[in-house]
Symmetry: C2
Subunit: 438 residues, 2 copies
Amino acid sequence: MTYRPRPVSGFPEHLPEIRMAEQHMLDRIRATFESYGFASIETPSVEELEVLLAKGETDKEIYTIERLQADEAPGGESRLGLHYDLTVPFARYVAQHFNDLVFPFKRYQMQRVWRGERPQAGRFREFTQCDIDVIGIDNLAVTFDAELAAVAIQALEAIGVGGVTLHISNRKIFQGALSSRVNPEQVVPIIRAIDGMPKVGRDQTVRLIQDIVGGLTGNVVANAIVKLADTRATGANELRQLTDEFEVDREEYSEGISELCSVMDHLKFLGINNVVADLSIARGFDYYTGTVYEGRFDDAPAFGSVVAGGRYDDLAGAFINKKLPGVGISIGFSRLFAKLLADKAITATRRSPADLLIVLPSEERREAMLVTAQALRKRGFKVETYHAPQKIGKQISYAEKKGIPFVWFPPFDDGSQHEVKDMASGVQTPAEIATWNP
Amino acid sequence: MTYRPRPVSGFPEHLPEIRMAEQHMLDRIRATFESYGFASIETPSVEELEVLLAKGETDKEIYTIERLQADEAPGGESRLGLHYDLTVPFARYVAQHFNDLVFPFKRYQMQRVWRGERPQAGRFREFTQCDIDVIGIDNLAVTFDAELAAVAIQALEAIGVGGVTLHISNRKIFQGALSSRVNPEQVVPIIRAIDGMPKVGRDQTVRLIQDIVGGLTGNVVANAIVKLADTRATGANELRQLTDEFEVDREEYSEGISELCSVMDHLKFLGINNVVADLSIARGFDYYTGTVYEGRFDDAPAFGSVVAGGRYDDLAGAFINKKLPGVGISIGFSRLFAKLLADKAITATRRSPADLLIVLPSEERREAMLVTAQALRKRGFKVETYHAPQKIGKQISYAEKKGIPFVWFPPFDDGSQHEVKDMASGVQTPAEIATWNP
């Protein structure tokens, strides 16, 4: 009478060897975040439903939680839902703890999030995100926009993910360029059209914008805007040259160009190369107000964004009567990890974190084995000890199956000496507890 | 028009400085687990309700999850619930991945769990547990029972929690002792009475057992059993001496004593001292079958168990037709951390992980500051850079508020040199990027 368990669609789970690779990557990402002084926070997995919906209806599917054995109506208690991203909980956190935080507040948050999707192949319903944000009070220097780009790129490098370019733009550029030429209500549709250009192509985008603007100027505007969106530059000087030919007299436009140049300059100082100023980057519309980022695989554009983010005017306006501008960037870790797994880009051979397996030659040597193990642990090694004086071949085979790289032989009697076998080379050599190193 | 967020009862959340202390402790626990070769796994936060209830009704309150915007009845999909411990998910995991695991399988798991409690002071509804288990096929050497005790104690030491003694017993001792003297159906009630002895006292426990056994032998049995439960020994020899006077001819009894002696011997070899063989330890009844552990504060017995666990005959019988005996121990991390916070046993002064803040003397020195920062990061330091060329006093005060221990002054011009101020001592000295160390 057994209940046969099955994987639950959308809730990934890994074998120990895969988990070890995952954990290593998360450690490296965390170390990169901390190397720039970002502080960890974690928020509860749930928020009050009012918080999750504070910015109006969300298009993210929410899981609510209910007590199975609820013995009465929840008197006065708000309904709770699992958070669907880390931005809303962070906004609530900053509002709630405002007086206890030091600004500019630099935080990272690496947690699971949940989306109540209908089960379907390739869609995660539980996944891990790695977010960093910097929040200021009333204003926040544009230097942080560059810092976040650098951190995101270095985090990807730290986990061995190459071939990603971070495409950076600034919302103000298009807003300024458009506001001098079209009616205010046409701005959003045009930016949406630009956002869709990679999918529908250049010509179709020109036609779309012509239709939006209409009249005699439609053609002129459409071509100018698409040309502006085609701008790519790897440095501030190049960007200035390319954009100088667009004669836009709006301050917002110049500000956007100037901020983007500043970000590119900063990144040069920080030694970050795989970035490009790319004016086609739009990233939705109603949220970001300045810098926008999107990191994409150079040779797998269909994957979409590996990292993404941008600058916003006011993080926590729904929760506190303060103006808290910020800039944030997020690594969709689970999706990226799933891609690396599918690409066989992850080598997972170790099923134990142990550096060493110490064998047990005979029951009489158990004390010697345990004492040796503790001495090696004190030196910082991770050590498994074998549990029974079985045939040495069986013990070695255990190390092999678990991918433990070294097997340690304690003395067979008080006269003999310690030896260590390198499992990769098969070579066995004498060793001292106090001095051995792999 | 703001929605004022409030803490959700039972879902703890910490400021960055407290989170840093928490994260440090979790890192140390993890390092201890890995130092014995335990491999990390993580399971989804949810399980099918059938899995959570596979062992029959549970007394743990379960949270189910439901899609807020469910557009139809969940066709054929099982209901999902958040896991209320890490044992049930682990059992399901082992059954599901049985063919891909190497046994004895040593795993650790540090995850959040949820209990759908009604909100009340001091009760967590979301908390972190740190579990380790070893699972064998058909049988598992008693050496692992000792190893788990050692790991648990060393994990507590690693996070600076002192004054905890691990009390160890073995279920077989009482089962054997009782089965030779009382009717089978009296065994469980008597062990429950022993379990309650710390609360109701010795005399009341004797009376309880007299009532259970009844008749002429009641008095004799009650006094003998309570005396047996009073046994405390710090080593195997002492334990043998103390228990020799109880003449029990059942094999189960001798096996229990012998296993407990073996555990105590192992712990001596491993250099673990703060353990005691304590025959009053019972830990419920229907789950554990051999070794049982309970770690308690010597001077705060009312806190209950800091760590607890034991040996069980069959981990995953509800899910797979194999006999998988195991031994496990669990650290109730969140409860322990809350106690340490309440006791002010945690010093939390750093609001940033940064070792250094590099100041920006003037806008012209920005490149020098950023280049310096990258060079120090390459050397492994965690570095914040100040964002604007504000008054140096203001920049230093930022480091002070965030608890950053060193402030780095890049050259004010190309002729001058780097200097570092130790914030604790106030002393400022020249420094080289390539060689500086705190």
